[in-house]
């Protein structure tokens, strides 16, 4: 016999009626302008435009999801700008964007009248503005989630949907030595990265997909093995010095890279860290780099395919196509084959963390690959 929600709701309704005095449900309210702050500096809203800045590309994608009605399977948008729930009302490149609601949107008018997007706001400024109520919505770094929450800001956290991985650069002498790769991979204490650097907002990653996606992440070991790493490193004749790069401006990447350097040092591995300029140099001076790869889909096969596509040029992995009907087993095996050579060393999965203003209602955390669901958000009327 199946458990039906209707039965539950009916029972609860009866109970409520019998008990009496039940609080009336709050219905959405129309109107208001949602103030949004983002860190990216979006210079073009062209959906086909490319940008070396990952943050700008992601922000453009989020905005595109509000402007366009349809989305292609590759993440691009179809139709014309303004066919979505909102259209562009004012646009100051790289600084400010105002979206106005489409009154006649076929899926129903959004509750908001408009969305004001301020660009180029640093994480610190966003947090401060959230705290003082100057903004209604801002994405905040995962490692700041707990502190932000402690300051009284509403925090909404998604499932883990971004992978941070260490990728060895093909062709570099240190990267071509399997023992070097394995020694470094085994020396990393992922749990400490999650607990301390990420302030427990995230999960240690041994595979490419989080546990909720394919259900097999637990099969990958995430524990550190400093002793094993030390033994491996001692077997390397001329121990090279590994240079680990991270994207300049990525404070989380820098913190993780520096922690990896500490772990490596504990295992006797000589490793130094250096920032990677944007755009990345054609001839890198680093042997490995940290990459942050957001999941473009909740589906494990699609997510793995996108990870693989991103990793092939970075790590020199063989591009093995993944069948559209790949089973969980096959997905797991593919994951295993990618990480087994230690060319790609998954580190942590990150959630997306959003700070919400006090008047924001009906905010639902978007799934991987989905845009901000601002069409369903409404603002509570502020008391006069």
């Amino acid at each position: 016999m199946k458990l039906r929600w209707s039965l539950f709701l009916a029972a609860i309704s009866i109970a409520v009626l019998l008990a009496g005095g039940a609080r009336a449900s709050r219905r959405p309210r129309y109107g208001g302008a949602l103030r949004v702050e983002i860190g990216a500096v979006v210079r073009s809203l062209d959906p086909a435009g490319t940008s070396p800045d990952t943050e700008e590309a992601e922000a453009r994608s989020e905005i595109g999801a509000l402007l366009y009605d349809q989305r292609n399977s590759d993440g691009t948008f179809a139709g014309v700008a303004g066919s979505g729930a909102f259209h562009i009302a004012a646009w100051e490149s790289g600084k400010h964007l105002t979206l106005a609601v489409n009154e006649n949107y076929h899926a129903g008018r959004a509750f908001l009248d408009s969305i004001e997007i301020e660009m180029g706001r640093s994480a610190k400024d966003r947090l401060l503005d959230l705290e003082v109520g100057k903004t209604d919505f801002a994405e905040i770094p995962p490692e700041e989630a707990r502190r932000t929450s402690e300051r009284g800001v509403r925090v909404s956290t998604s499932k883990t949907q971004e992978l941070v991985a260490l990728v060895f650069v093909p062709g570099r002498p240190a990267a071509e030595n399997p023992r070097v790769r394995e020694a470094l991979g085994r020396s990393i204490d992922r749990t400490a990265i999650v607990n301390f650097i990420l302030q427990k907002e995230g999960e240690p990653a041994g595979g490419l997909l989080p546990q909720w996606s394919n259900g097999t992440a637990f099969l990958f070991s995430t524990s550190a093995d400093a002793g094993g790493a030390k033994d491996l490193w001692s077997q390397i004749g001329a121990s090279p010095r590994i240079v680990l790069g991270y994207d300049s401006g990525d404070s989380l990447g820098q913190a993780i890279a520096e922690r990896i350097a500490v772990n490596a040092r504990d295992a006797g591995i000589a490793l130094s860290v250096e920032p990677i300029a944007t755009p990345a140099p054609s001839r890198p001076s680093y042997d490995a780099r940290l990459v942050r790869m957001p999941m473009t889909s909740s589906h494990p096969r699609e997510a793995l395919a996108s990870f693989q596509a991103a990793l092939v040029p970075l790590s020199g992995l063989d591009a093995v196509p993944l069948s559209a009907a790949a089973s969980s087993e096959q997905i797991y095996e593919r994951e295993r084959s990618i990480v087994s050579g230690y060319r790609v060393v998954p580190l942590v999965w990150l959630p997306r963390v959003y700070g919400l203003g006090a008047r924001v209602r009906d905010w639902k955390v978007p799934a991987a690959g989905e845009g901000w669901p601002f069409a369903d958000v409404w603002l509570e009327q502020e008391s006069q």
């Binding site: 929600w5 039965l7 609860i12 546990q211 996606s213």
Partner: protein, 417 residues
């Protein structure tokens, strides 16, 4: 004293509704231990096929069953039994280590639903089999509508109350028992009329400034009171009488877990036996809560205990706490709110007795606790929180800081939409 005359009828109505709801829900999802739903049986059967193929010529295997899914509505023991049976049909026999092969089966969960993952280690070879549980015909766990906490005051008095109990004697009469530090009091409500039936002293062996007591009803005429080091059985035979005796072993009947009170103190000690025969001994705790298998589908081997250090710890199938929760009070109780199928717990606030207390509903998911809805504020500290007889409400004893009265109330959770 506020007369409870106008309060009790509404409570009665809600209790009736909740009982109705509980019976209906139990009928829909109750399972007999050892029997798996069809989808799970199919998955286990497929998994057995894969394991058997991977075992090859190995005839014995050591099976280990783990659970990384937090909301699997299946008793792992049933899966284990079914899997072992299926493998036995294929010629493989379970054995204690060392065996020809080690098989580790994990109940996992992915985006689509539950999956059974088997790691088969044979000599140096390792193989992984993943079998999804086809649950397309079953609703995945979904967050229910946002619930709200409701409180109905049943009684107020100046004398401290340790616990109270209301039972229906028949369709017209309801008996209300109050356990006070020194006596057990019985009231009768006959069509709304309140009558003090009787009050009998109870022996109190250990003095305490935080005395704890608990009432259990066998039926309307038979009630047992558990106090520090004592057990008092009350009955109407024909008059109301109480017989107290020392509670040897300090056993308190609370669910499936063996509790032992520390009579000179205000806390308990206890142990739990998990499905894998592992027994975990809890540290001293003030209160404990476990999910109802009937309403949540979860194994009763999960348990949260409120420790003396102000932290609540969640145990999931083994002796090591899976996670801990901060900011919780010292009393908690599981409650089946009906707002979703997740395990929900009512938890008191973390203030002291000089402050107003609150009750917060938490939903336990993925080894984490998420506060559901707004906390319910009371006029003073909560002194006792016990599960209602129906599992869908809770008995709350609190003290009104403004009036100084002790209040007995029923708390329930209703869905807001």
């Amino acid at each position: 004293m506020r007369p409870p005359r106008r309060i009790l009828p509404s409570i009665f109505r809600s209790i009736v509704a909740v009982v109705f709801f509980a019976l209906a829900a139990r009928a829909t999802i109750a399972q007999t231990p050892g029997q798996l739903p069809h989808a799970w049986s199919e998955a286990v059967f497929t998994l057995a096929e894969k394991i058997s193929a991977a075992l090859g010529t190995s005839h014995t295997f050591a099976l280990e069953l783990n659970e990384v899914s937090t909301v699997a509505a299946i008793d792992p023991a049933s899966i284990r039994q079914t899997l072992e049976d299926d493998l036995a049909l294929r010629g493989a026999k379970p054995a204690a280590a060392p065996a020809d092969a080690q098989v580790q089966v994990t109940i996992s969960q992915n985006l689509a639903g539950f999956v059974l993952v088997a790691e088969i280690r044979r000599q140096d070879a390792q193989q992984v089999a993943v079998v999804p549980v086809a649950t397309s015909d079953e609703l995945p766990p979904q967050p229910g509508p946002e619930p709200g906490i409701q409180r109905k005051i049943v009684w107020q008095q100046a004398v401290p109350i340790l616990d109270f109990l209301q039972v229906s004697a028949d369709s017209h009469r309801m008996l209300l028992y109050f356990l006070e530090p020194d006596r057990l009091v019985a009231y009768e409500f006959d069509d709304g009329a309140q009558v003090l039936r009787d009050a009998q002293p109870v022996a109190r062996r250990y003095p305490s400034r935080d005395l704890r007591g608990h009432l259990i009803a066998t039926d309307a005429m038979h009630v047992s009171a558990f106090l520090a080091g004592m057990r008092c059985d009350a009955s109407w035979n024909p008059s109301f009488s109480v017989e107290c005796r020392e509670n040897a072993g300090q056993q308190w009947p609370m669910g499936t877990v063996s509790w032992t009170s520390s009579p000179a103190r205000n806390y308990f000690q206890g142990s739990i036996t998990f499905s894998n025969d592992l027994q975990a001994k809890f540290p001293p705790f003030f209160s404990s809560a476990s999910p109802s298998p009937e309403t949540t589908g979860l194994s009763s081997s999960r348990r949260i205990v409120a420790g003396l250090d102000g932290q609540a710890e969640l145990f999931v199938g083994n002796a090591e706490p899976a996670s801990n929760f901060e900011g919780w009070g010292s009393d908690m109780v599981s409650i089946a709110s009906g707002c979703g199928s997740a395990w929900q717990v009512l938890v008191t606030g973390s203030g002291d007795w000089t402050e107003k207390d609150q009750i917060q509903l938490y939903e336990i998911r993925d080894r984490g606790a998420a506060a559901i809805g707004e906390p319910f504020e009371l006029t003073g500290p909560i002194l006792a929180l016990w599960a209602g007889e129906d599992g869908r409400s809770a008995r709350v004893i609190s003290r009104n800081l403004e009036s100084g009265m002790y209040e007995a109330s029923m708390v329930s959770v209703s869905c807001s939409n």
